[in-house]
Amino acid sequence: MKPWTRYLPSAALLVIAGLAWQWIVTARHIPSFILPGPVDIAQTAWRLRSLLLTNALPTTEIAVLGFLVALAAGVLLAIAIHLSRVVELALYPLIIASQAIPVLALAPIMLLVLGFTIGPKLIIVALICFFPITVNTVDGLRAVDPDLIRMMRSLGAHRLTILREAELPGALPYLFSGAKVAVTFSVIGALYSEYVGSTEGLGYLMTQLQNQFETGALFGAMALLTAIGVALFAAVTLAERLLIPWHRDERAALYTNRKGYR
């Protein structure tokens, strides 16, 4: 497929969904304060574009920084769990437990310890999104063909060499699955982080808009948010393609014999 045709189905579905939405809203006279139509949303968003964009910047920043923190932390934790049975038994349950607590409930404690810095925000984002990375990386490190590892051991490879040369590259596809989930969550994490001591960002803006019943603008902010989410996901997918070259093209022409398809 040519690059631009790739986006046709997605765009077509969007247009169809938009039309249906607009039609329902118009035909059933749904008032815009309950569910604004896409036209309404687009108009409001355009009117408030500078407000939206100004506030999108800090949110994206926090999301990306938080994701990077989560990536580093998630992979390191996974390696530690993988390398040491004791660490696994001691830490893994606590890591799982950390995900069952609503992060916002921890906000006061973080605030008390760290004050009104960027720290608590990054921690909130990282807490929300490191988990898929850790679980996937642990499973990926374990999924590497055991015969490959035997081969390396027989050649006298050090434990860390096996990790670096066999297990980590082998776990990359899993890691990236986790990273794609994580980066999508980082956006919502950034939003939540703004409930804790912020006076800017899309999360703060959304609270304000909701309080003033600016439903159209609220939906505009949400649309912007989803656009950021999709863009970050796409960025990680691109990184995956670049970092796993041996994986690429493996599937080329698998279900068809016409060369160049997919």
């Binding site: 081969m151 390396m152 050649l155 490879a157």
Partner: protein
């Protein structure tokens, strides 16, 4: 130089809940600088024996001895080439071969240089930067053999290293193997299913019975060295040895005379 010995090795697996005795008191000894071949039916336990000698698996009974020291379960003493080629999918062919010397402590650059210098002889020239999945079966096997050989161990354990090669390529690499062995005096244990190959290369041949494997015969190959291929394989001693082995393996005596 080091020799390697497997002493009275026994190993039983569990398959689907039942005990499957695979090795039953098998002893194989390769003296320092010796070239030993192991022949046996498919599924008898040759690979199991070799992985025990490599330290990758532990025997239920018996010991592996190198230079008189018990090294059962010790790894990295011998260069081991497994039956599956096991190239790393994420390393290009040259880097896969360079892994051997790298893991022996050579710098990556030196390892790559060393590996590259052997590529033409191994018919791999031009495929240095190809990923393993684009290689043919025989090319993968050759890359794996080269990797093991370059790991620079004094002892090499080779599990059917030439099994996927055609007659020509195979003879070529057999001669190469003999050359480097004579030159660098490595200790080699070779698992093979090719009787000619065993006789042509080895000083001594161990025959394994079918599962559970015992050593059914040990033959010394009293052919002179060096061994020019054409002369050796036409010699009467070669042919009588071949007949003897095929007979021991249960084959009717139909060797061409």
């Amino acid at each position: 130089m080091k020799g390697i010995e497997a002493r009275e090795i026994s190993r039983t697996f569990r398959v689907d809940g039942h005990a499957l005795p695979v090795l039953c008191g098998v002893s194989v000894a390769a003296p320092p600088g010796g070239f030993v071949a192991v022949l046996g039916p498919s599924g008898s336990g040759k690979s199991t024996l070799l992985s025990i000698m490599a330290g990758l698996d532990r025997p239920d009974a018996g010991r592996v001895v190198v230079d008189g020291r018990d090294v059962t379960g010790r790894l990295g003493l011998a260069g081991y080439m497994p039956q599956r080629d096991l190239l790393l999918p994420w390393r290009r062919t040259l880097d896969n071969v360079a892994l051997g010397p790298e893991l022996s402590g050579m710098s990556r650059a030196d390892a790559r240089r060393l590996a590259a210098s052997h590529f033409p002889r191994f018919g791999l020239a031009g495929f240095e930067r190809a990923y393993p999945r684009t290689l043919s079966g025989g090319m993968r096997q050759r890359a794996a053999l080269l990797r093991t050989f370059l790991s620079e161990r004094e002892i090499l354990l080779l599990d059917e290293p030439l099994g996927a090669l055609d007659a020509m390529t195979r003879m070529d690499l057999q001669s190469w193997l003999l050359d480097v062995w004579e030159e660098m005096r490595k200790t080699i244990v070779l698992v093979t299913h090719d009787v000619d190959e065993a006789i042509y290369l080895a000083d001594r041949i161990y025959l394994l019975s079918s599962r559970p494997a015992r050593v059914s015969a040990v033959l010394d190959v009293d052919l002179r060295r060096p061994r020019p291929y054409d002369e050796i394989v036409t010699s009467t001693r070669f042919l009588s040895l071949k007949r003897e082995i095929l007979g021991l393996l249960g084959h009717r005596p139909v060797v061409t005379t």
